[in-house]
Point group: D3
Chain length 131, copies 6
């Protein structure tokens, strides 16, 4: 199921279980997905990644749904099958409607196209855009 | 300045000028950037790309700023220098604050990281995420 | 099983079989994997790719295991499912422990994250790093 | 000018000079570009890469110009600035007209867009396309 | 079968069916593939994408087969499984022979390799290639 | 110099300065590079990223130099100009010789090539490699 297998809750060390508990509480769910069960083979990475994601994905200047949409757009650009599946589910969970999904795909597709037109035409940056 | 040069407004054919005029009117600006001046070497691609972008980037189920943020996230993932410069300017223009920019970067960076963890650990898609 | 099928040892031409024999001898294995069986549809590419890999992956200034780790990191970055599966097996074969794998993933993930932060913040290269 | 500098013809070892001479003769030019001058820091990689490229890029079932176009499309997809500049020049040299360039860009851009739509919509492969 | 499911011809709205009919007529086939059936969830994107592809992929300065080869090369570079499967079938349909396929792979592979050598060696663009 | 500018040590808040001090002490250097000066616009991301990198890049099951090599290989694959420049310098600092660099490039280039051959030939994963 994954290179080093999946660590189920019942088999987890107290250290891992503490992270699982925080995931369950923060996300108000009773399900730990395969991403976390895989990372649990490395408790330090598990904790670090979870703490980072919890902080980064929380509503701030950008709301939580907008962040999920950005996450999906990146995953789509990178062709990450697992991430597209799990983050699309997550985005829906946070309120992404079908219409939002369709527009998200359209923008991500278009950006990927114009990224290549810009590079291929060797377009230099306009003076006014320089930092 | 670009593989086939830039077509300035004063040198543009009526066909190209019509697109330029629509860009200026739609964006309420007096500036045509290098992207369009490059594409203008191919009036068919210029018109098609502009019509597509105008339709895709207009507010719909997602507001215009959210779409700009997604555009920047994709451009950052693809390492497109021109696109990052021009779309960051565009996003600011639509209301992206410094705090929004910083959170956008954090999410895009994190998604790029977990995309690789997911692939590298060879994590299979959870049954509940399958479509 | 692959676009042009897999060429098994018993069905291989003498030209292909010579490469297979060298793979088996060099790798001290009795197994030819699907990558080579696919390339065998093009004996010139098969030989060229094998000769290149044999030369490049042999211990030199970098030991063979370090090279395998680098190979996995690239494959993970590119989201190449076949390559991740086969090169992870290959790296284990050369001595990669679970702990090494976990650290490899952490570094590859982090590099992918900071690559985007660097691009997204449009950070210019420090004078001292310029070549 | 490059991480390990550029090796000019007059400073090259006989081993490197032999490759340079073959490049000059094969390409019917009197110019060695920075790519080869950089690789020359590693004569083994220089020779291997040149022999590979000479074999791969020669006219075969695909003509030499078509191969150049493919090379540019890949370079554009990867956002490789050096490669886009040098291979676009090379493609022009082999007969790429402005119109061909423009169509090449349009196809490369479109493919990059639909690659993401396909991944993002999680489209499963049609039975008839399976290998 | 896809995030929002597949829209079959019999269930399609007149708007979607009109696009399907044009695809069938233009491609002289009786098969609508999963890509279009997925996009059909968004009739505007379906029409736009089809009109774009029809225009871009039609023979012009580049013949239709060359365009298919470029499409495959981009899809291979991006690791898009669906696109590789469907566009390889499409290229064969337009006349790609096994030998052409093998050379296409060799060129795409080589370009991906040298793209990284160019970036990794930090090679600056030759004066004569600058635009 | 960067989207939100660079925060110099003398202008840094105590919070940022604390991170800078830890970077200087950990790396035994008197130089803060542009990456950190850019991130300093977001003290939370600065601290998180630095803590993560410090933990991940420290010698463990893999030595510090091997980790630097992996970092460079990923940056080269992603075509991140800033990262290639800064991490190549960093790897040299940790002991990467010219010969190691040349082999690193050869492996990264080859992996990028075979990643595409594997995807392009649609090679299915060998039973023995499945997890």
């Amino acid at each position: 199921m994954a290179t080093l297998g999946l660590i189920e809750y019942k088999d987890a060390s107290p250290e891992v279980r503490a992270v699982y508990d925080d995931i369950l509480a923060t996300r108000k769910t009773d399900y730990i997905n395969n991403f976390w069960k895989s990372l649990a083979n490395d408790p330090v990475t598990l904790r670090r990644t979870w703490e980072d994601i919890k902080q980064i994905m929380a509503a701030g200047a950008l709301d939580a749904l907008t962040k999920e949409l950005i996450y999906v757009a990146v995953s789509v650009t990178n062709q990450c099958g697992y991430c597209i599946a799990s983050r699309t589910a997550s985005a829906r969970n946070k309120g992404m409607t079908d219409d939002m999904f369709l527009e998200l795909m359209a923008v991500a597709g278009m950006a990927n196209e114009t990224n290549r037109l810009s590079a291929g035409y060797q377009i230099q940056i306009d003076e006014r855009y320089k930092v």
